[in-house]
Subunit: 211 residues, 2 copies
């Protein structure tokens, strides 16, 4: 049986129930740890699940920051230094990733608190997560304020990508499932995946087939 909830009904939900409902509603999401460092050298690590693809030429992506949350250390470091890393999460480190969401004081590095290891590569200023298998170095391009609720959209470009060599297909496809990357739903639900298939390019007058 299906139930329809109007926006009035949703707004009448108890606050925490509504947050859980809306956060879990939108679909499965990407999951990544953002690594940053302040100019004074304080590192920070935070889990995000709002990444979205923006373009391939130049390679651009975006994500959403909520300024009223633990995200704020990440945001201030990105605005201060212009750079950050994006580190994908696999089954062995998902509890660690979740733990970075705890409200630690500014002087605590979530790398230490969540038992993950800082890694520095190719003179990039921001720290990577050593335990992660797919990692991106990125630079801030644009910060857009969303007036309706005070959230902020960060638009960024990809500086470099580090990836296990055996996870890249002959057509350029990055096989995240092979790398063990997991997905999440809502604020606390973590999921592995199982491929149904890759489908052939969609054209009128044919029907897609598994590749």
């Amino acid at each position: 049986m299906q139930t329809e909830f109007t926006s009035d009904a949703i707004l009448a939900f108890e606050q925490r129930y509504r947050a859980t409902f809306i956060n879990s509603l939108g679909g499965f999401k990407s999951l990544a740890l953002i690594g940053t460092k302040s100019k004074s050298g304080q590192t920070n690590l935070a889990v995000f699940n709002s990444f979205f693809h923006v373009g391939a030429n130049p390679p651009l992506f975006g994500f959403i920051v909520r300024p009223d949350s633990v995200d704020r250390h990440t945001l201030s470091n990105i605005l201060e230094t212009g750079v950050f890393t994006v580190n994908q999460v696999h089954e062995e480190i998902y509890e660690h990733a979740h733990q970075t969401a705890a409200r630690y004081p500014r002087e605590v590095s979530e790398f230490d608190a969540a038992k993950l290891t800082e890694e520095y590569k190719s003179d990039f200023f921001a720290p990577y997560v050593l335990e992660s298998k797919i990692k991106i170095a990125a630079s801030l391009i644009q910060k857009t304020d969303i007036a309706e609720n005070g959230t902020i959209m960060i638009l960024a470009k990809i500086n470099s990508v580090t990836i296990p060599s055996n996870c890249i297909g002959t057509d350029g496809f990055v096989d995240l499932e092979k790398a063990g990357t997991i997905t999440c739903q809502g604020l606390d639900s973590y999921h592995t995946t199982k491929r149904l298939s890759r489908l052939t390019y969609a054209k009128p007058d044919t029907w897609p087939k598994p590749m």
Copy 2:
């Protein structure tokens, strides 16, 4: 073995290889069919995978439209009427969803071409997908141009949510896996999910546990 690709190396990739690489890199994504109707009554249905949560109060989300693609009929209908539906995809209809990405002429409804059924509810102008199990009615709030590559960010509010009653937990959590909602990666890879666990709220000095 890991390989690091710099932005110069990525920009030197063959165009289609680069698009596949960057599109598949960012993580697992939400997957939904957006249903629209022009003022003159022409329906349109298109698959999108760039949804992101923006806020729970008011309930807001966003997605990215690439104006040089088949997305343009969706965009013009949303700008013309202000409303659209978001319909989640399960295993039985993922080939249908993929097929909506074919470049049909304006006068062809992808509902017909991809063998899905228009559904109208509660006097909402835009068509739902009858076969979908979780569906959202939404209204346009804001259109933001992303100058770097001509893409457009649509910010929208949720008007209503239709959902199987047995997929909502006592805390408001919407169990998408129970509803059969699938996830995708890149432009053509479709995946079911298997929950590892939901983890307890992250707090300093404790370690997250499965709920």
